[in-house]
Symmetry: C2
Subunit: 331 residues, 2 copies
DNA sequence: CTGAAAGCGCTAACAG
DNA sequence: CTGTTAGCGCTTTCAG
């Protein structure tokens, strides 16, 4: 197989000009029915398909946008960011765009500049470094942030209603009669963590519930650390009767610690997680959690991006996705 | 900001030819130190960065490969395929290539042909449709399969050592004294399922252990279905003392069913999963499972792809990644 | 409705 | 080591 057939080959075989061949593919209505048919036949015979690169070159834009996951270590394997990716993927693929996926780290490694001009826009998931953001802006590449927000930057951000989610969880616990509610916070991205933490504290205060310094603990966001931290939390006297966790992994750690200590869920201890990861229903008892529609977040990122690319005058800076408490057996 | 600076602008400002500017960026060693410096300065001043598309156009190749997830419904959200993606991502980003991600479904929707010429190769994850495979081949685009295999196609496949994994699990159970071992199989992709199933049957026979028709059940690969199926399995008389599950989600269902029936793990029932999903350690007791190094699988896909792209004479058709049984508390 | 021709920005001989 | 020049395959005025 020598080199692929070009528009010239089709032009020659069909007896029309290259311009017409081009039109036939990009805007069929502007070509007479009969001509069109001739072109299609020739193309078919030659097994021709338009060369996307040449096209990009001519029209001066690619049809690609990138999604970079900005989170140390974790990548697409993080269910949350994978969910966003899923939403982006589905939406992007319905809009003639294609999606490039990478991580902040890898992107920087492979010489951003060399690549940059081959994407139209970039969606940054999580805590992106300022230098990265600036670089894209300097190159005139539209940026959308997701699950993160930087005040004063006027960058469209798609986030979940963190405060709302915490409120749903807290009202649920309070309505179940809990007063001694603790929080096990994990080192998530700073925006998310502070939203969740602040909301927790605010609501405790608002409801005039007792909150001692030791009632909030911090841990690394893995089961082991969470389990260890939970052990301490659960040995406070009087022991909290409920714990709100910064995410589901941490909640799983709390469940394990409770189990080891002989506490029954939800009778002796209510546990609520956050994110509604898929494993919530695999735990026993199933984990109550604040559901975030990651996929929707991804979709919205693409919508914002499309607006940016369409040079829409003012793209809203804040897009917030509502959360929903999924009550299960653990609370 | 008018249009971006081109190689001509740099050429003019630095006083050298465009060819030299080009060389300076693609192969600095072939340009005299002093000249190089002049070029860099001019580029800097103009905030120039090479246009990747024009480059692709000139050298007649893109620097992109695609990873398509071929699995109904599930996507990148599937931890297994996300793991592979992770491996691909890391490797690809170290080789000047960029990764396009999509699903089989979406790819077909958005007119594969139009896009095809903008990728160099494609990695197909899971049960890809023959029509898709043929289409790529017809276009001369190298294909690598992962977690799937089609006999007679001479397509490089990267798979896990399924039979080996089952053997590890079985030997573990047998060494613990289990004789009545059941299997709960889920509707995974046909290649994987048959490998796991056949290995299970073969080993039971080989060890001369009793295996009645009802000892193997089939279910959908979700917790609910698995739990229901497990209930039946566990009400057989005599009850199996161990169950090998086709994957971890199914195993989680079995654990729940066992718990409901008042069976203790591992005393009354040993459960072993497959894939070693991240939630294995969140379950209580933690789930024994056959670990598959998905990331490694992804890396190997890229290696095979690189060989294919480098026109290496014979790329091995089969690349198998070893598995490792991770023994935890559930068995 | 169709054709001719001038690029899009970069690379790769080839010549010096 | 560097410059000249001819493309890469497609789009897009501008005429006809």
């Amino acid at each position: 197989m020598s080199s692929a057939p070009s528009i010239y080959d089709v032009s020659r075989l069909s007896g029309v000009s290259t311009a017409t061949v081009s039109r036939t593919f990009s805007c069929p209505s502007r070509v007479k029915e009969a001509t069109r048919r001739k072109v299609y036949e020739a193309a078919e015979a030659l097994n021709y398909s338009p060369n996307a690169i040449a096209r990009s070159m001519a029209i001066q834009r690619t049809d690609k946008i990138a999604y970079l996951i900005c989170k140390q270590g974790a990548t697409i394997l993080d269910e949350f960011y994978a969910g966003i990716c899923d939403g982006i993927l589905h939406t992007v693929n319905r809009t003639d765009y294609q999606l490039l996926v990478s991580t902040e780290e890898d992107w920087k490694l492979s010489g951003a500049t060399a690549q940059s001009k081959s994407i139209e826009g970039v969606i940054l998931g999580g805590k992106a470094e300022m230098s990265l953001i600036s670089e894209f802006r300097a190159q005139g590449i539209p940026v959308v942030l997701v699950n993160y927000f930087v005040p004063g930057l006027e960058l469209p951000s798609v986030v979940a209603d963190e405060a709302g989610g915490v409120r749903q969880a807290m009202e649920h616990l309070i309505s179940r009669g809990h007063k001694r509610i603790a929080m096990l916070a994990g080192r998530l991205n700073p925006y998310v963590l502070s939203e969740r933490y602040n909301a927790f504290v605010a609501i405790m205060k608002e409801r005039e519930l007792p909150l001692k310094p030791n009632d909030v603990k911090m841990c690394d966001p893995d089961v082991k650390s969470a389990e260890a931290a939970a052990r301490e939390l659960l040995s406070l006297a009087p022991r909290p009767t409920a714990v709100l966790c910064a995410n589901d992994v941490i909640a799983a750690g709390v469940c394990k610690a409770a189990h080891r200590l002989g506490l029954r869920l939800p009778e002796d201890l209510a546990v609520v997680g956050y994110d509604d990861a898929s494993f919530c229903t695999m735990l026993d008892p199933e984990l109550t959690s604040v559901h975030i529609d990651c996929r929707r977040m991804g979709e919205l990122c693409v919508e914002r991006m499309t607006e940016l690319l369409g040079e829409k005058p003012d793209v809203s800076e804040f897009t917030v996705v509502p959360t929903e408490l999924i009550v299960r057996r653990s609370s």
